[in-house]
């Protein structure tokens, strides 16, 4: 378990995934479901129809209303956690750890928490399209499977979040918690793909992974910056003025994502630079 330290895992064991929406699970679990089930939590009454389980008839209501009604209880389903991990070439930069390494640790941490909570976890790496996914697994014992899947993922390809989301949705997954771990530096933007997830009844969670140099460039030197994905070049005299202009643009980008998340009721968390991944994870989990 090189991605996660034992101490950190112990911290994670006491936490659960924060879910703001209710999802219908594939099997009984510990999460409130949109479906009616057999939990102890009363949900509502409905008229009795032939074939219904007579054990659920509310005889007290019949005595008062002289109508047969059934007592429905809230079902408790398991949660499916989809980890959409950006593995495009832009995640391959960064020091001392690449952004992809950070993204994989984020995914590992969240997967660990989910598996510890008997949630179903699926990992879908993507770049300009989806990569081979880790089919949903469940149970704490599958943590090793999760980590072994994450370990060999390498950065390559361009970022196309929109296409990746479309392909993801095309597989008709059950609605669930979709953790999108990416730098979101996609010229096509991030709003439309995330909106598509929302419309498919998923709950997107935004983990934006950036390198320290991306968040706080060091001034000095005349550089040709080469885009790791598109290959485009930008000549920059990295003086104070240029850094100032970059930071201004970066802050605007952060504000844009933050505003979007707030508007949609989504969770947004930056990772990297001065924000270690473990703190980011704990912050997210505690928010739930």
């Amino acid at each position: 378990m090189s991605l996660l330290s034992p101490d950190f895992l112990r911290r994670l064991a006491r936490l659960r995934l924060a879910v703001r929406r209710k999802f219908g699970g594939a099997s009984a679990g510990s999460r409130r479901s949109t479906k009616r089930g057999s939990s102890a939590e009363f949900a509502e009454h409905r008229p009795y129809y032939a074939g219904d389980d007579v054990r659920r008839i509310d005889w007290n209501a019949y005595a008062r209303l002289e109508e047969l009604v059934l007592r429905l209880f809230v079902a408790e389903d398991d949660l499916t956690l989809y980890l959409l991990i950006d593995r495009s070439a832009s995640l391959g930069v960064g020091a001392p750890d690449t952004k992809l390494e950070v993204a994989k640790r984020v995914a590992a941490g969240l997967g660990y928490v989910a598996l510890s909570g008997s949630e179903r976890v699926s990992v879908i790496p993507f770049s300009d399209r989806l990569g081979a996914p880790l089919s949903p697994v469940r149970g704490r014992r599958r943590i090793g499977t999760l980590l072994r899947f994450l370990e060999p993922i390498e950065a390559s390809g361009d970022t196309d979040l929109g296409r990746a989301v479309e392909e993801f949705l095309a597989r008709s997954p059950r609605p669930g918690l979709v953790i999108v771990v990416s730098d979101f530096l996609d010229p096509a933007g991030f709003k439309r793909p995330l909106d598509r997830l929302l419309s498919a009844r998923h709950e997107p969670v935004i983990f934006q992974v950036l390198d320290k140099e991306e968040m706080d460039p060091t001034p000095g030197g005349d550089l040709v910056l080469v885009d790791s994905e598109r290959g485009s070049q930008v000549e920059v005299s990295l003086d104070e003025r240029a850094v100032r202009a970059y930071r201004k643009r970066l802050e605007a980008f952060f504000d844009q994502i933050s505003a979007y998340a707030k508007q949609r009721g989504l969770y947004y968390q930056r990772v990297g630079g001065d924000i270690p991944f473990d703190e980011a994870l704990v912050a997210y989990l505690r928010a739930g």
């Binding site: 140099e213 030197g221 885009d227 643009r249 980008f253």
Partner: protein, 641 residues
């Protein structure tokens, strides 16, 4: 400050501005760095380009500083220098006015001393590769030191400079220097150090810049402009003479002076108080007895000026004025006209009659044998001082002074050769330009018998068909006329030219005796004293100092300082003297008044008192270094932030 670019071609370095700007225009060599995405950088760069123009100039401060460095560097390499400055590698000719007026004393020393100090400063400040030429602007300009970087040699030559009479030919001195600097490198120039005490406009012609540094203030000066002594005998006073002196004052006010006359070596004979106007010279006539000395030598009259104001006499000069060279003058007395003529052998009657016709001639008859006997009796006896007329026999060596040889015996006489006698020959030509035959005509002269004279040193005065009939021999202490025939054997004595010829001879001898036996010359010029080769001649100056020189080529050249008066020289058994006076109104007027100009299209003439002998390029270089430091500071700070 007037300035010039000594190496204007170096301005070509400004062409580097083009590649410098190109370096900013062209893409810089940049380090390539792979980043995750350039998306935000592209937006940031777009923002920067959209910002206001004046902010875009900020990074170009480096370009501005570098352009300044380049411009200053090119200017420094162009070696700008003021007109009074000596650039590296340049040649400078220092022309020092050594005229008599430069002996005038200013508050801090004589003008020549001040000029020497400036010239010495220039010599000591010669930059690497620089050379200096020293030209003395005397009456006859001379290059004392050709272009040299040896400051020690230059300083020695500068220290040896002395004022001389005869004025300073600045124009010719500058022309001489300009000729020597014709191919000199750019930046070379001529520096003229003068008091400007000359009349009129001095035209200085040169292709190199000329800088005239004037030295001295407008000081008052009293001067003796001329002295003449004429006989005015009476029955009771046969040696009575009148001493005429012309005295002038060059100032803005009048002055009273004492004019005194004395006999050199004996004492005061006359004096008079004179009111000297500054508007015109005053003439003074003094009467005095001027008897010869016990050796029958004619007296030399010394005329001096002294101030009538006792307060003025406290200074270094009797008149208290700035220039002392013209406060004393010397002149021969009328007794100097008395001319002893020694007839050696039987002189022709015609010559004897002509000599007797001159009342200032004292005739003495002797022979070669008597002369030899006199020398044998007293080897240290002084030589006879007069004109010798030899007839027939001649001694092996000519006596000092002037001589005439008539129809000599033998085949040679005093270095000239005599040919066989030729009879009834006719005159062919004569040298009308020679002073001895001035106003003498030989046309229709009939000579019965003549022996033609030949010899390298003999110049032909009269040429007949047979050859030279009368020849002249020039010697340092006189001249010899050789007649290849006996005048009594011709009809020459019947011609007026015969008398004129001997009159010319006697007057030239008198002039030489009056001058003391030494060639006339200007004040301060070396004395050219006739003396046997190898003999050391000692000259005593009027101030009592002595100078000596060894004779070469029959002449001893003894350097003297500009002191008016009588210079005496002992040459063997002879005692010679030379009289030196200034007698130059132009030099006595020591007020700066000359205007200097150059010919149209020529080099610029500037006047200045003094300048620091430095080029401007060190200052430009310093500014360049400061800007380089600023540029470095800017660059480092830019990268540090």
């Amino acid at each position: 400050m007037p300035s010039a670019l000594l190496s204007p071609i170096s301005l070509a370095w400004l062409g580097l501005l083009v590649p410098l700007v190109l370096l900013y225009v062209l893409k810089r060599r940049r380090e390539t760095r792979i980043v995750g995405s350039t998306l935000l950088w592209e937006l940031a760069m777009r923002d920067m380009r959209a910002e206001r123009p004046w902010q875009r100039l900020v990074p170009h401060l480096s370009l501005l500083l570098q352009a300044l460095v380049l411009i200053l560097g090119a200017l420094a390499l162009a070696r700008p220098a003021g007109a009074g400055q000596i650039p590296s590698g340049a040649r400078v000719a220092v022309v020092i006015d050594t005229s008599a007026s430069m002996a005038a004393h200013e508050a801090t020393g004589s003008r020549l001393e001040l000029a020497r100090a400036q010239a010495t400063a220039i010599a000591r400040a010669l930059p690497p590769g620089g050379e200096m030429m020293l030209v003395a602007a005397s009456a006859d300009p001379v290059v004392l030191v050709p272009s040299s970087h040896d400051s020690a040699m230059l300083e020695r030559a500068i220290e040896a400079l002395l004022p001389t009479g005869g004025g300073g030919a600045l124009d010719r001195a500058v022309a001489l220097a300009a000729e020597r600097l014709r191919d000199a490198p750019t930046g070379s120039r001529i520096i003229v150090l003068t008091d400007g005490a000359m009349d009129g406009t001095i035209r200085l012609e040169s292709q190199v810049p000329i800088e005239v540094r004037t030295i001295g203030e407008a000081l008052a000066n009293d001067a003796i402009l001329a002295v003449d002594v004429r006989p005015h005998p009476t029955e009771d006073q046969p040696d009575r003479a009148e001493i005429f002196a012309r005295v002038a004052r060059f100032a803005d006010d009048d002055h009273d002076l004492w004019v005194t006359a004395s006999i050199e070596g004996r004492g005061l004979v006359a004096s008079r108080r004179v009111h000297v106007s500054h508007e015109r010279p005053s003439s003074v006539v003094l009467s005095a007895d001027l008897p010869p000395d016990p050796d029958a030598r004619a007296a030399v009259v010394v005329v001096e000026l002294s101030s009538a104001d006792p307060g003025d006499g406290a200074g270094a000069h009797a008149t208290g004025d700035a220039l002392s060279l013209d406060d004393v003058a010397v002149a021969p007395s009328p007794g100097a006209r008395r001319l002893p003529v020694f007839l050696v052998g039987g002189a022709p009657d015609s010559i004897r009659r002509v000599l007797l016709a001159d009342r200032d001639v004292d005739l003495f008859a002797t022979s070669v044998a008597d002369l030899d006997a006199r020398r044998a009796r007293d080897p240290d006896a002084s030589d006879l001082d007069g004109v010798f007329v030899f007839a027939g026999r001649t001694p092996s060596e000519p006596p000092p002074g002037d001589s005439v040889v008539v129809a000599p015996e033998g085949d040679t006489v005093f270095g000239a050769s005599l040919g066989p006698a030729v009879r009834d020959t006719r005159v062919v030509s004569w040298d009308e330009a020679d002073p001895l035959v001035r106003f003498v005509r030989f046309r229709d002269l009939h000579i019965r018998e003549v022996r033609p004279i030949t010899g390298a040193s003999a110049r032909a005065l009269l040429t007949v068909e047979a050859g030279t009939a009368i020849a002249g021999l020039s010697r340092p202490d006189g001249e010899i006329a050789i007649l290849g025939f006996d005048p009594d054997q011709s009809d020459w004595p019947d011609h007026p030219g015969f008398v004129v010829f001997f009159r010319n001879l006697l007057e030239r001898a008198r002039a030489r005796r009056a001058a003391g036996g030494i060639h006339p010359g200007r004040l301060g010029e070396p004395l050219r004293i006739p003396a046997p080769d190898g003999e050391v001649v000692v000259v005593r100056a009027p101030d009592g100092s002595s100078e000596s020189a060894t004779s070469r080529g029959g002449v001893a050249i003894v350097a003297t300082r500009a002191i008016p008066g009588v210079y005496t020289a002992e040459v063997g058994r002879r005692r010679l003297h030379a009289l030196r006076n200034l007698f130059d109104a132009g030099e006595s007027d020591i007020r700066p008044r000359a205007r200097f100009e150059t010919r149209e299209g020529g080099a610029e003439v500037t006047t200045d008192e003094a300048r620091e002998p430095r080029e401007a390029w060190p200052y430009l270089g310093g500014a360049l270094l400061v800007i380089l430091a600023l540029e470095t500071l800017w660059a480092t700070r830019k990268n540090a932030t």
